[in-house]
């Protein structure tokens, strides 16, 4: 039942923050902090399920009728994958709040209102098990994000905000049509109108139609991800958003696209997804390389980080459509590790912008001497993002490459080139910003280094990345049931009844996936560099 409380806590916290700011100057931040902490405590109540490795697939669920006319219910459920992403959401929410604690001066109450409502929408997306409800939350997270960009953003905020919104909204209308069509086909076959995810999984749809419906979902998620032809909104939105907004966008909102692919596109349309997989992997590989090239060409530091996200999320797409346990586990790990490292990089860029009033790398340089702490932490996250072994991103990208190599050799080779590109742009960024001669070095010599608050927040993330790099097994264990369930759906789409029974697969009930599970776990154990050797 705690599941249902998290979302209202965030919604109400947002409303309260707005009200409090009217009477208490700066009070909204504390309200935001409090409601995020309460949500964290609520989420922590799932610790027993998290700590026991092989438990039930679905940890909790809440269901109540909402619009009976269309068989729509208010149906939330949590599994390992949802838990990981929910934890990421709340953690990044806290990080964004703390990292930009004093950056917002204008209409603070309304800012934190939007901030919390975005988080609430994302939390809903990660737990909704009714397709209508999912779509509802999918939209609810957009409007506050729109305001975050449009009101507190930088120079071109209106343009960036509208571009962001039109891309996501137009693509999500495609998804809405696909959802309605799916429900209608299900109704035609079974005579029952429902938007329930688990019931819709049973519907058998001819491959031709399935392909179109799958595309409707895929495009919506690929825009969010973003995958290459659909990425133009990303650079503008990330660059123009305020720091906290960029953190939300990069660390959390991008993950909703990957989550949607894992949760909805693959299991609902298994045959079509299998047929589409080579194309999707190609898009992923192209995104990896293209994103790296674009990142390398940027003058604007924030744009560089934004395009590096395109590159990193390309790995996620590649891993998901490799359709095997290792690659998908890698993709899940990449979602988390990329969330941490990119959030930190955006926070650092934001800190620099606050101090230097520029994001143009041509005007920076030689900053190491003046802001040593900031520079050292930036170096850490830059090498994390380029995939240094021992950190989470390495595990993730390595697993994706290992998993997709047997599926498609050449695409894997191309994607691996992206790692070279990542090294290039990340180190080049370090060189231009922190080393060398500075142009503005003489003009304003009094630049503050990171204060204790910022440094602590960033160090916590750094520790998190190291932990993920050395001991990734808990993440794999938590995501395991969801991944196995997904692959089972993919492999045996014609016998859905076994899966759709309310208790999803236990490893002993079905021999073949169980074998796959154990073997993959051993591989993962062997691969995690830390767990045995350290």
């Amino acid at each position: 039942m705690t599941l249902i409380a998290i979302i209202p806590v965030l919604f109400l916290g947002g409303a309260l923050a707005w009200l409090v700011e009217r009477s208490v100057e700066g009070g909204s931040r504390w309200v935001t902090l409090a409601s995020l902490l309460i949500s964290c405590v609520l989420l922590a109540s799932y610790w027993p399920q998290f700590s026991q490795a092989a438990g039930e697939a679905w940890w909790d669920s809440v269901q109540a009728p909402w619009i009976p006319r269309f068989g729509i219910s208010f149906f939330l459920a949590l599994d390992g994958l949802g838990f990981l992403l929910l934890a990421l959401t709340l953690a990044m929410g806290l990080f964004g709040l703390i990292a930009s604690w004093d950056q917002i001066q204008f209409r603070r109450g309304f800012f934190y209102f939007n901030y919390l409502w975005t988080l609430a929408g994302v939390a809903g997306v990660f737990t909704a098990m009714d397709l209508f409800l999912f779509f509802f939350f999918w939209e609810v997270m957009l409007i506050p994000m729109l305001f975050l960009i449009a009101v507190w953003g930088y120079e071109q905020r209106i343009f960036a905000a509208i571009k962001f919104f039109i891309f996501t909204q137009a693509s999500s209308l495609l998804m809405l049509v696909a959802i309605v069509a799916l429900v209608y086909l299900h109704y035609d076959a079974s005579g029952q109108v429902t938007f329930n995810y688990r019931e819709l999984m049973d519907s058998e749809i001819p491959l031709g139609i399935q392909y179109w419906l799958m595309l409707g979902f895929f495009i919506a998620f690929a825009v969010k991800l973003p995958a290459v032809p659909l990425h133009p909104w990303l650079a503008d939105a990330h660059t123009q958003a305020p720091t906290a907004g960029s953190i939300l966008l990069a660390a959390i909102l991008l993950k909703t696209g990957a989550y949607g692919l894992l949760r909805f596109t693959l299991p609902l349309f298994p045959e079509a997804s299998a047929a589409f997989a080579p194309l999707a992997m190609t898009i992923g590989a192209i995104s990896v390389v293209y994103g790296a090239i674009l990142a390398f060409a940027q003058q604007d530091m924030k744009r560089l980080v934004a395009y590096s996200s395109v590159s990193h999320m390309g790995f996620v797409l590649l891993g998901i459509y490799a359709l095997n346990t290792i690659a998908i586990q890698g993709a899940v790990m990449q979602m988390i590790a990329h969330g941490l490292s990119t959030a930190a990089l955006f926070a650092l860029v934001g800190a620099l912008q606050q101090r230097l009033h520029t994001r143009n790398m041509a005007q920076m340089g030689g900053l190491w001497a003046r802001v040593p702490k900031l520079a050292a932490i930036a170096l850490f996250f830059a090498v994390a993002s380029l995939g240094l072994p021992g950190l989470g991103n390495f595990i993730a990208e390595f697993l994706v490459l290992v998993g997709s190599f047997p599926v498609n050799r050449w695409l894997t080779v191309i994607a691996a080139l992206g790692l070279v590109g990542a090294a290039l742009y990340a180190l080049w960024m370090m060189q231009r910003v922190f080393f060398g001669e500075g142009e503005k070095a003489e003009e304003d010599s009094k630049v503050h280094d990171l204060n204790a608050r910022e440094a602590t927040a960033l160090l916590v993330l750094a520790v998190g990345l190291v932990f993920l790099g050395l001991r990734p097994q808990p993440v794999f264990d938590t995501a395991e049931p969801a991944v196995v369930y997904l692959l089972e759906q993919m492999e045996s789409p014609q016998s859905p009844n076994a899966v759709a029974e309310s208790s999803p697969p236990n490893s002993d009930s079905n021999a073949v996936p169980a074998k796959g599970t154990t073997s993959s776990t051993t591989i993962l154990n062997a691969m995690a560099p830390g767990s045995e050797t350290l």
Partner: protein, 507 residues
């Protein structure tokens, strides 16, 4: 005519009696407030009458035919109620509008008489089941709209610019509407020549007997459809819309956009279902083309508008286009339900948006009574987008209501507009009209741009430089009440759509 028949048209009788009472009242006691009170009383009692008749109808046969001219059934009563509620809102808006613009030499009471006449026409149109009653009702509606559109001219204190625009609006509508009516009348004549009947059921029988593909019949139906498309401002019969919407007094704009269109949609629904015109592919194709063109052209042209009334005019063209996707679903319970829901969403949202625009403009005029001076720049024109810059920080509640209306128009969740859009998608998928759905998606994406631009202008940081738009906007209590109740309706039906769905299916 039996007592039951007389009882069935009770809403119409109440309205007619109300008109007479108001006329008498005005000839003895002139009084703005008294006229408003009488009007509201008449409208509310007509609503009550609708409920009473609905109870009678559901106890009885399901529908009551009145002398072959009118047919009272659940759907007609539902639409009639919807129109009456909008009329109540328009009356309140009109009161706020006239309050600042009238003095002892002007006669604001006529506004309410004309409004009630228009409502009598609209309600009759909804009940019509015969071309005679249909035509009479349509003309009654149009004839009372002409003076309403030009009402700013009638010896009050509107700025001269407003008066000229209002006059232009009235004349334009008069000329073009007369042309459309003539076409429609010719269409009716052709249908009569082909089928020998003027009542809908008679036409249906004749059509079934002689086959619907008779060229005379088709030509007549097409002409009639064109006349209706003119009233609904479907592309390519939309040219009048932006000018008329812009020039008319804003409450009248709200009236023509909601009651004027709602009544025609209700009638078309009954006509198409009764005569079973959905079986005629040539007519449905014609409608589909007009719907697609309306969605695309309406949204495209709205992109260019700085004037909010013109923007809403183009957006209403697009919305009627969306509505026709559900309309084309054909003669099924779900199609009718979808049309009804979307119409409610459209009416509530459009009323709300025009209410905010109207109240903002009234308050701007209240600052400069008589307001004869020319408008210096766009930021001091209360109908221009620039006037709304930073409104969210100056008058958060007002701007919040407008934001809700805009989000509803754009079809974003939590609002009634989203559920309406959902119905459109459901109907489109069920009818497998993929091209139309593609047009809906494209149109919605275009629409987002101008709705969002207005929305984002309201939350901009810059304080306005010109003196025209500074300070909070003070609203009268009646206006505020209206605005909040419309927003409440919009949110409640957006979050709990089942309530309204139950009503639609129960009525």
């Amino acid at each position: 005519m039996s007592t039951q028949e007389l009882f069935a048209i009770l809403p119409l009788l109440v309205l007619s009696a109300g008109i007479v009472i108001l006329l008498l009242q005005v000839s003895f006691i002139r009084g703005h407030r008294a006229a408003l009170a009488t009007t509201l009383a008449v409208l509310v009692s007509a609503c009550v009458a609708c409920f009473a008749v609905a109870g009678q109808v559901s106890r009885g046969p399901g529908s009551i035919g009145v002398t072959g001219l009118l047919l009272v059934d659940h759907y007609a009563l539902f639409f009639c109620l919807l129109l009456l509620f909008s009329a109540i809102a328009v009356a309140v808006l009109g009161f706020n509008y006239l309050k600042h613009r009238s003095d002892s030499t002007s006669y604001p009471e006529e506004f309410y008489i004309l409004l009630l006449l228009m409502m009598l026409g609209a309600s009759t149109l909804v009940f019509a089941s015969h071309f005679a009653s249909f035509f009479l009702a349509l003309e009654l509606m149009s004839l009372s709209l002409y003076p309403l559109l030009g009402f700013a001219v009638s010896g009050d204190l509107s700025p001269e610019r407003d008066q000229l625009l209002s006059l232009e609006s009235g004349l334009k509508y008069l000329l073009l509407s007369a042309l459309a009516t003539a076409l429609g009348l010719f269409g009716i004549a052709l249908i009569y020549a082909a089928s020998g009947a003027l009542d809908f059921s008679g036409i249906a029988v004749a059509a079934r007997q002689f086959g619907q593909e008779s060229p005379l019949m088709l030509a007549g139906l097409a002409l009639l459809l064109i006349a209706m498309a003119f009233k609904l401002s479907l592309v390519p019969f939309h040219i009048w819309t932006p000018d008329v919407y812009q020039g008319a007094p804003t409450p009248v704009t709200a009236l023509i956009a909601t009651v004027g269109k709602g009544a025609v949609v209700a009638l078309l629904l009954r006509f198409f279902a009764g005569v079973d015109l959905f079986a005629l592919p040539s007519l449905t194709t014609l409608l589909a083309f007009m719907a697609v063109a309306s969605m695309l052209i309406g949204n495209l042209l709205a992109l260019l508008q700085g004037n909010i009334k013109r923007l809403l005019a183009y957006s209403s063209i697009a919305h009627i286009g969306y509505l026709f996707v559900a309309f084309l679903m054909g003669n099924s319970a779900f199609g009718i339900e979808a049309v009804a829901y979307y119409l409610v969403a459209y009416v509530v949202t459009t009323l709300g948006a025009f209410a905010v625009v109207s109240l903002v403009a009234d308050s701007a005029l209240a600052h400069t009574p008589g307001g004869g001076h020319p408008i210096a720049d766009t930021a001091s024109d209360p109908f221009h987008r620039d006037y709304y810059r930073g409104l969210f920080w100056r008058s958060p509640w007002l701007a919040g209501c407008l934001a809700a209306m805009l989000l509803s128009l754009a079809g974003i969740p939590l609002t009634i507009g989203f559920v309406g859009k959902f119905y459109i998608f459901a109907a489109g998928v069920q009818g497998q009209m993929w091209l139309l759905l593609a047009a809906v998606i494209l149109g919605s994406a275009l629409g987002l741009y101008y709705y969002l631009r207005l929305l984002l202008v309201m939350v901009q940081r810059e304080e306005p430089s010109s003196s025209g738009a500074s300070g909070a906007i003070q609203l009268a209590i009646s206006g505020r009440l209206l605005m909040f109740s419309l927003t409440a309706v919009l949110l409640v039906f957006g979050i709990f759509p089942q309530i309204l769905i139950n009503w639609i299916n129960a009525l």
